[in-house]
């Protein structure tokens, strides 16, 4: 049994627990995978948890990591003990301040969950490319290899920096360590207190800037002195390794846990040694144990203190017997002689090794959390045994281009027999991961067994598949890699049998538990042959339970985790069944007590019923007759999609060789259409007889899975059975045939379309023109119908756009479809509309965030092409620079166009004056104008094709001719980008006179990283880093933009007034200068049923929480007020709007008094804002400056 000195935590919590208790000021900014460290700090501070000195640390969220670093720098200068947490791009943004903090010899610890830097692609996963990119800043770098170390070395860092005065970066591997759940020994407050020297804290405070004893720092120095002054810190760096080593010894005395700057494990006379840093060191250590036991002379040197690199300590640990060394780097420095750790080791040896130098080779492993396993470690040692080992290699991938990779070698299992390994496949929404975390906590706190949990998620935000990797053992568990030999595999969703290869890792004789709606015999029959054959070949014991039925019977709906967890305990016997059940029930009581006796009773009933319904499957000896698993992409997919994308979808992306990939991160678009995810349990069905043909359903669909078309009657020839149609009633397509069609396999079942549908059956208003029906029974028929629908001709775009109303525009083909966005997403309808209107000529610059994840995360991407092969060209640069990035698009496109026009003039003699004049003079108004210009460009290209290629002008104009057609530049991102981290750039781009369109999808929080407050968060809303409810008003970004006068600004909410949304998009795009659209986007972070998103948007607008307006500078010249308010005077109740959302309601539940106060402030603020807008909507602004009252006033444009 464990005691209070242990806790089951992940690496982030382990590090944050120490950092929080040893700090006074914490400045934070969210970034994966370090966000939880900031969140824990904020949560503890909100709960008034104290640091070791009995004070509550001050936690402040900043606008960016650069802001957090600046704040920390200031706090340190003013004498606080400060800390922060970050990763990846965030760390890069801190670099300037890191130089300053180090240059000023300031005690400080920065905790980093090391993550990949974005290069050819972004990756949220772990490697050392970020920490290696700051190794030159003057920070000491201390690396933890396990969760326990992340706790212990955090303490060592805080203690050592005070003594050394050199700031420390304490880092551990992102995800692998930051997110691995395990049991660790906890450092008590007393232990922490005894580690940090109070006298050193006094000295730190003494150095603080204070007018009571003024000094000056940050001077500017000249060539005469800078150099010498820079060298003045040297002795502090020389002393640092010794200090860190001593602090490690102090910790060892306190806790018995011994750490060294460099530690060696393995054969005392090792001939082959691997040098490594980070979680991979655990894997190497365990492999070395196994190899040494077999008599091999191998060893491993783990580096903990990487900077300052102590050659003395390093050499002291390296066995003199070593002949071959492989240095493993978890980063890539293209063009360098070697990756950084390797170069350091070589230098250290070359300068100091006595005798013949060992042969040193460089290996690269584990980029972006690529698996690093014992078999790979063994492959490295095998390579070192080769007569001539490769000087440079990679391990863990197949490089068939530059042939750097080592063979992965044979399976090599180093885990003891006592280790139990279980994998669970679930959906993000079914609670599987949460249940497994519970299991780990139960075993971790109720037994002496060691526990480990690591969780893998796919990159879709709806229908996410999760895989839990859970290990238990009697001894230590040093296995920082995914399960390779599962004793137990649990499948919590029946549908996975045809989608996921779940038994690839199961060991011979392992147990497979599946939740199945069928009895054991029927279940077996319905297994695909691949699964059935694995079961037979590996002698797998199969158990089934209809977990949905048991949960349903117990009154738990679809929440099957309690049922599955119970069966797991019963089958796996990781702990005594009776004890396990008792523990589960106790956990249930603890977890659900607050929710009431009935919920506790239901869960306990589920536990009791689970075992009674668990059945064993008799496995026959043959799998003959079973169906084959269906392909993961459709038959019409292009070769690349079938070859590469499909492999990734199947979960076998690790097997793809280097040659399979584009060299520069360029990928084909329009690939979501080939991945039929079938995640909706229910889909909408259309009743054409009731439909009023408003197309609000297609407008609202976040996934472009419900579509409308008008076409001519003859086009219906060959329509599949049941293909629905009616006659279209509205101009300009009156009399044509009309169909609403659902892409059944792509729909997420969010219900937004059904909720927004205004057409009710008069005799039975419960029945609407759209109702939800089960997807499975209609899947095949609907697939055929959708396929026919796609073949129907597209609407004439110029006619639909010229009409410009919602229903006409929604007949346009979306060029953004089936993204991985959440079911019911409030952002994607805007993105889809953008592509319907302008997708054929749009370049999209996308800030990092939800938009870039559902817009560009592999395996498949949603931006699509029209019948001419045109569609949005999309790229993501960074989070912070998107406005500038998109601005660059505009500069380039304008430059191309300008040069093309110049070339036209130069070549007009050859091309014909008439064509040239038409090309140059075309205003390209509307889609008609663009169509005409495109035709001219075709004519131009034809002529150019007949001209001599010897002419530079002809060659250049041929390449640039398409730029004579207007391009539409869009800058997309969320409020975190536009209001916070990217605001400086956004503001600058607005201040220019270039034609860019900025679309801010405002969810009022950082959605992608888990709901942290931004400056867009409204008063009274609870968000992470503003748990108690935000006390200040939402920044009025629109007002700031309007102040320039030349910027088109619109504030929209499609769910409240879709006509205004469409109008704003068209006006913004037509505006020749910068445009800003601020779009209300409901989000899961608001905490309510998103099928009600449109209703909430209406309430937001009606209550004054979200006024709608359009500010069009062109009205200034016309002598009209540029601002038009599209929402009337608020009539609804702000309280009603707010009370529907958990983000507001929880503030009331926490502190009703504060809530009422905030509510009052929110009401006042909304009132004041509306009044201001109403005043402004009456002002006619003189084109020459100054203002004059309007002759006539209007608050409604239409």
């Amino acid at each position: 049994m464990s005691d209070k000195s242990t806790m089951v935590v992940d690496g982030n919590e382990a590090a944050a627990s120490v950092a929080y208790r040893l700090s006074e000021v914490i400045a934070i900014y969210p970034i994966t995978p370090a966000s939880p460290m900031g969140e824990f700090s904020d949560e503890w501070s909100a709960r008034n948890c104290q640091n070791v000195w009995g004070a509550v640390p001050t936690v402040a969220e900043m606008q960016s990591e650069a802001g957090a670093a600046g704040t920390i720098h200031g706090a340190l200068q003013a004498g606080s003990l400060a800390t922060t947490f970050t990763a990846s791009q965030g760390l890069l943004l801190m670099i300037p301040n890191m130089y300053k903090i180090a240059g000023e010899l300031t005690p400080f610890v920065l905790h980093v969950a090391a993550r990949t830097l974005a290069t050819h692609a972004l990756s949220i996963f772990g490697d050392h490319s970020d920490v290696m990119a700051v190794r030159q800043t003057g920070f000491a770098m201390l690396c933890s290899t396990t969760v326990q170390e992340a706790h212990d070395l955090a303490a060592v860092s805080h203690a050592a920096t005070l003594r050394a005065r050199v700031p420390m970066m304490h880092f551990f591997d992102g995800f692998r360590t930051s997110h691995e759940l395990t049991r660790i020994q906890k450092l008590s407050d007393e232990q922490l207190l005894s580690l940090v020297d109070d006298e050193l804290i006094r000295k730190h405070r003494e150095r603080a800037l204070t007018p009571d004893n003024p000094v000056i720092r940050g001077t500017a120095q000249n060539p005469d002195v800078f150099f010498q002054a820079r060298e003045a810190c040297n002795s502090y760096y020389d002393a640092t390794p010794g200090i860190v080593a001593e602090e490690m010894e102090k910790l060892a005395v306190l806790t018995g846990r011994k750490y060294e700057l460099f530690s060696y494990e393995g054969h005392a006379e090792a001939e082959r040694v691997i040098i490594v840093m980070g979680s991979g060191a655990q894997t190497v250590r365990e492999t070395v144990k196994a190899l040494v036991a077999k008599g091999e002379k191998v060893g491993v040197l783990t580096i903990r203190l990487y900077r300052p690199f102590s050659i003395e300590h390093f050499l002291a640990k390296l066995p003199r017997s070593v002949q071959r060394i492989a240095v493993l780097d978890r980063t890539k420095e293209p063009g360098a002689i070697g990756d950084p750790l390797f170069l350091d080791v070589v230098t250290a040896l070359t300068e100091n090794w006595e005798g013949p130098l060992p042969k040193v080779v460089a290996g690269r492993y584990g980029l972006s959390s690529k698996e690093f396993t014992p078999r790979m470690v063994k492959a490295v040692y095998d390579e070192l045994s080769a007569s001539s080992p490769r000087r440079r290699f990679t391990i863990g991938i197949v490089d068939d281009v530059t042939h750097l990779s080592l063979p992965r070698g044979e399976q090599f299992d180093v885990l003891g027999k006592d280790v139990h390994q279980a994998m669970f496949f679930g959906l993000g929404s079914d609670g599987t991961v949460g249940a497994n975390k519970n299991t780990i906590k139960i075993v971790g706190t109720e037994t002496t067994r060691q526990v480990q949990g690591y969780f893998v998620y796919d990159s879709k935000k709806s229908g996410t598949i999760t895989v839990s990797h859970v290990r238990f053992s009697d001894g230590l568990l040093d296995a920082p890699y995914l399960i390779e030999q599962a004793d137990f595999v649990g499948c919590h969703q029946w549908e996975f049998v045809d989608q996921v290869d779940m038994l690839v890792t199961i060991r011979d004789g392992g147990t497979f538990l599946i939740s199945s709606p069928y009895n054991p015999e029927e279940t077996w029959k319905r297994f695909p042959i691949e699964l059935a054959q694995q079961i037979i070949d590996k002698h797998v014991q199969v158990y089934v339970i209809d977990a949905n039925a048991v949960a349903h019977e117990a009154g738990l709906g679809r929440r099957t985790n309690t049922v599955m967890q119970t069966c797991y305990f019963a089958l796996s016997k990781v702990i005594d069944v009776e004890q396990a059940l008792g523990n589960i029930k106790r956990t249930i009581e603890y977890t659900y007590a607050k929710k009431g006796a009935e919920i506790v009773r239901k869960n306990i009933a589920a536990v009791d019923h689970a075992l009674a319904n668990l059945k064993r499957v008799e496995v026959p000896s043959s799998a003959a007759g079973h169906h084959g698993r269906p392909p993961v992409v459709t038959a019409n997919a292009p070769d690349f999609v079938k070859r590469v994308t499909a492999t990734i979808i199947e979960g076998r992306g690790d097997l793809l060789p280097v040659s399979a990939f584009p060299i520069d991160g360029t990928w084909p678009t329009a690939t979501t259409q080939y991945e039929k995810r079938n995640i909706a349990l229910e889909i909408p069905v259309w009743d054409s007889s009731i439909c009023i043909q408003c197309n609000k359903c297609t407008m609202s669909c976040p996934h472009a899975a419900i579509r409308a078309k008008v076409y001519d009657e003859p086009d219906l020839a060959g329509a599949p059975e049941g293909f629905k149609h009616t006659t279209y009633k509205a101009e300009p397509f009156k009399g044509k045939k009309y169909t609403i069609q659902v892409a059944a396999e792509d729909c997420t079942g969010c219900r937004l379309c059904v909720e927004v549908c205004p057409a009710k059956d008069k005799t039975n208003p419960r029945h609407k023109a759209l109702d939800m029906i089960p997807q499975r029974p209609v899947r095949d028929a609907e697939r055929e119908r959708y396929s026919f629908f796609l073949e129907l001709p597209e609407v004439d775009k110029k006619v639909a756009v010229a009409k410009g109303d919602v229903k006409s525009v929604q007949l346009l083909r979306p060029l953004f479809e089936f993204s991985g966005a959440c079911a019911g997403c409030g952002e994607t309808p805007y993105v889809k509309l953008l592509t319907q209107l302008f997708g054929d000529r749009a370049l999209i610059a996308n800030a990092t965030g939800c938009t870039s994840i559902y817009g560009g995360n592999l395996p498949t991407t949603p931006y699509a092409t029209d019948t001419n092969g045109r569609g949005p060209a999309w790229a993501n640069s960074l989070f912070e620079d998107n406005a500038e990035f998109g601005f660059g698009f505009r500069l380039s496109v304008d430059t191309h166009q300008s040069y093309a026009r110049q070339l036209l003039q130069r070549l007009s003699g050859q091309l014909g004056d008439e064509l040239v004049k038409a090309l140059l003079d075309s205003e390209q108004v509307g889609d008609g104008g663009i169509e005409e210009q495109r035709a001219r460009v075709v004519a131009l290209k034809d002529k150019l094709a007949g001209m001599s290629r010897d002419s530079v002008d002809v060659r250049h104009l041929s390449a640039l001719a398409d730029y004579l057609v207007r391009k539409s530049i869009w800058l997309l991102g969320g409020d975190g980008w536009a209001y916070d981290i990217g605001y400086g750039g956004l503001d600058h781009v607005l201040a220019q006179d270039r034609n860019v369109n900025i679309l801010v999808l405002d969810t009022e929080v950082y959605s992608n990283t888990g709901g942290q407050a931004s400056k867009a968060t409204p008063i009274g809303a609870s968000a992470k880093f503003a748990t108690a409810g935000k006390a200040t008003a939402k920044k009025d970004l629109g007002m700031l933009a309007m102040s320039y006068g030349h910027v088109y600004v619109a504030r929209i909410a499609w769910g409240a007034k879709d006509a205004q949304t469409v109008k704003a998009f068209m006006e913004a795009e037509a505006h020749p200068g910068p445009s800003l659209i601020i779009a209300y986007s409901h989000c899961i972070a608001h905490g309510y049923d998103l099928s009600q998103g449109c209703n909430q948007q209406k309430l937001a607008v009606d209550s004054g929480a979200w006024p709608l307006y359009r500010f069009d500078p062109k009205r200034i010249a016309a002598g009209e007020p540029p601002l038009v308010l599209d929402s009337g005077t608020p009539k609804g109740s702000l309280r009603e709007y707010m009370m529907n959302e958990t983000r507001f309601r929880m503030v009331e539940k926490m502190d009703p008094k504060r809530f009422n106060k905030l509510m009052e402030l929110a009401e006042q603020h909304a009132k004041r804002r509306t009044e201001t807008y109403e005043q402004m909507a009456k002002l006619v602004v003189s084109a020459y400056g100054g203002t004059q009252p309007a002759v006539t006033t209007s608050t409604e444009a239409e």
């Binding site: 998620y457 006796a597 888990g1010 968000a1023 905490g1087 049923d1089 958990t1142 926490m1150």
Partner: protein, 336 residues
Amino acid sequence: MDLSTKYLGLNLKHPLVVGASPLVNDLDQVRRLEDAGAAAIVMQSLFEEQLLLEAAAAQAYIEVHENASAEALDFIPKASEYLLGPDEYLEQLRKVKAAVKVPVIGSLNGVTASGWLDYATKIEQAGADALELNVYMLPSSVTESAAVLEERTVEMVRTVRSKVKIPVSVKLSPFYTSPVNLVSQLAAAGADGFVVFNRFYQPDIDIEQLEVRHSLELSTSAELRLRLRWLAVLSAKVPGVSLAVTGGVHTATDALKAVMAGANAVQSVSAILKNGPSWLGKARDEMALWLESREYESLGQALGSMNLAHCPEPQAYERGNYMRVLRTWTRTNLGW
């Protein structure tokens, strides 16, 4: 004038009690009610169904997004002080209890057997002086008979009674086939008192949107009649239990009528919402004045004076009442 009364074993200075309402959600308001003269305060009902729905909603709209993304393990901040479910109610009950000296009566509307019992116990533990069981439900089942439903209610009261020590009353709806029989069964099962009658949200129809709308209108004095009749019957036929009226008391006269019909306590909500807390003191003083001017010695003299057992014309409460009303409505005064 001695207006004191005994309700559910609690000694009240007078019969005017604040009925179950949202008024108790604001502690300042609660103190004002006491200062204005409330003899006791009934908490708003703890609705188990709402708690179940909230828990289901939390699961469906919040928990369902947890542990589903590598970048965001959750989306709503964790706050230890975020009171969910009954905790919020119980905490408010504790605060109200601490804020006032007058008795505080808990109120509970359960839907499941375990819910009734669990929450009744918790309300007692939170310090309630008595507990009102609001047994309102909407029986729309085709197969469950009235007897089955009534038996379930009786069983529930028996169980709760056996687990809690504080007095327990049952708040009834007016729609029982044999209310007196039911009340006597409930009394036998241990109910200490009865509150007549519950008022409900009534649906309305929006003919434009084809939607059902809900609202609760404030009561009027006209609603008192139904209650007077059944107070008169119950106080005569089921002696030994406490009775409270709720719904339709808007004046001191209304209150006096209720007492004369047999009410030990008079619960008021609408009148307070309409007139403010000061209504309590005003109605109390007017009752005293009326009694004094009619030379009553105490309110006790009037208690039940007009019930079925004591009123000069008992048949007026029974079938005869209907006949008499018809007889007194002549063509002339109906305006034909």
